[in-house]
Symmetry: C2
Subunit: 371 residues, 2 copies
Amino acid sequence: MNFQVLSQDGGGNARTGRIQTSRGAIDTPIFMPVGTAGSVKSLSPDELETLGATIILGNTYHLCLRPGDERVARLGGLHKFMGWNHPILTDSGGFQVFSLARINKIEEQGVQFQSHIDGSRRLLSPEIAVGIQKNLGSDIMMSFDECTPYPVTYEYATESAKRTIRWAKRSREASKGTEQALFGIVQGSIFPDLREMCLEELVQIGFDGYAIGSLSVGESKEQMMEIMNRIAPRLPADAPRYVMGVGTPGDLVEGVRAGVDMFDCVMPTRNARNGTLFTSRGTLNIKNSACSDDQSPIDPDCGCYTCRRFSRAYLRHLYMCRELLSYRLNSIHNLYFYLDLMAQMRAAITRGDFEHWRQGFYAGMGSELSI
Amino acid sequence: MNFQVLSQDGGGNARTGRIQTSRGAIDTPIFMPVGTAGSVKSLSPDELETLGATIILGNTYHLCLRPGDERVARLGGLHKFMGWNHPILTDSGGFQVFSLARINKIEEQGVQFQSHIDGSRRLLSPEIAVGIQKNLGSDIMMSFDECTPYPVTYEYATESAKRTIRWAKRSREASKGTEQALFGIVQGSIFPDLREMCLEELVQIGFDGYAIGSLSVGESKEQMMEIMNRIAPRLPADAPRYVMGVGTPGDLVEGVRAGVDMFDCVMPTRNARNGTLFTSRGTLNIKNSACSDDQSPIDPDCGCYTCRRFSRAYLRHLYMCRELLSYRLNSIHNLYFYLDLMAQMRAAITRGDFEHWRQGFYAGMGSELSI
């Protein structure tokens, strides 16, 4: 994996770049659709390509439980398994093991947990998490971390960040002998000094990219922005910077402004399935009865398949009937919105016009940071 | 609407033909995917086109309840509403009102029932059913009939068939002033003389096509075949013949052999969602653990998107995870199988080779009539 910064916004930290992988190039800043269990829910690989996705995310936790990473390896790896021939980033399972599974024990060795699917007892450790990601064959692996809960004491956050650093070292060690890239994850909760300490230690270890973890886990928007704005610009400039699990369109704009290159979030696809649709003028709840006789598309300014072909009235009908097509057409729209938003930001940065573009974005959104 | 028989199988009743509508031609014999509530579950209009569907079915009962036929009319008709620009056949609501709703009263006027969605009291009559279908703007409407239950006494079947005939007359009357075609429906349960009586009366009234209703409602396969083999060839030869709600691949083959031109059934799409997949060698249950590590496609002889791109192992995984993509990829495969089966039969009839083709079909299927 190779990363190059292509342009930098005049006054700020926003930048464009290109990650080159053996499976293709990724223009940054980029949003990665989440394909939890080997599928971006409801969408085919062809649709993802048409939407302009250049990299998707797969979940180590889900895939190791079902269908099993060894099975995926036997079947030729995750790309072949799911029919996606472009880059894949896999997370380390850290976040899910703390949010979905029943934790039995956090030890130096790793985390003992019970599967949320069948209750079976499992261990996830740096070596195991990297081993799973090797089996999956992702282009970018994430080192195993402890997703620090919120709220948390300074003492526990320190302990947790230090453990994450030790686990990062072991992850790096375990990654030897593969050409898959490995990113480190900065922890430290809402405490800037812990975040900076963690960041420095990770840079000492040396990774192909650096991520900020445990944001959007319950802290306030202001706390999240404070950490993102402070830490993102301090991440090494010559490696991709990735904010994990974030966020709203406004969060993405602020992240890019802080110098972030990569994002992932279930929001566009999950909200789609709940009938909440993103537009350049704010969100639209397709359940709203005002949509019943509305012949207009979700967003008249949108060029996605859903907006080119279907009315709000039809989409509302599909949603009310819980038709399977509803989830899909809504997901197409929301992912198009997110990916197009990133393309707009790349273009604005390249033009040297990012701040002006950003003002226009908030004006369109009704000046709401979070929509 | 215009219908032309193009070729007739030498020894038997099987035939090819073409139904010409203002929205395009339909080569017969044809299978119509079922788009109950304005959507063939999980599939986009583009996918249906790619699958080779030339006509789909919409349900009067479902659409009049939700989103409402007057709303569909205001929005420009069902074709525009759902983004399908090819022919649509709508049923009369007769079958659903007897199978889904709570019937309050069957009277000469029509059927009083309660909506299965919100319990609201409704009336469906020949005039109302045709009025709804006019609002939907389908290319082919069905006259309102009583779906005779099974088992049934000869006395009730007689009464029911006679009522269906009187309702057919009123449906024909109500259809005046539209260019939408109207088909009559032959009732009479498993009693050949009642079926023939009904058929003769319908021909007296005069319809653009003739259907056989209330098959596959609980009677034995032998009883169904007896009625289909006896009645189908007696339906007017110069009009399309349609067997409603039938059936398995074997049923389609036998129907075509009896001279039937049109079929519809939820089986390919419903079975797809249940993980039961049709192949040229019988059915495959994708849940089967033998599929877990199987890199082969559902059917090596199949040319559908699902078989060209995905393994049984992946499809089993999607099914076990209840991923939305599972329903869709399985539906694509099963509909492709059904539509390709019809294309094979059209080609065999055109070649004058239908009986030979039919033997090959059963040999492939393990000589099972019903798979």
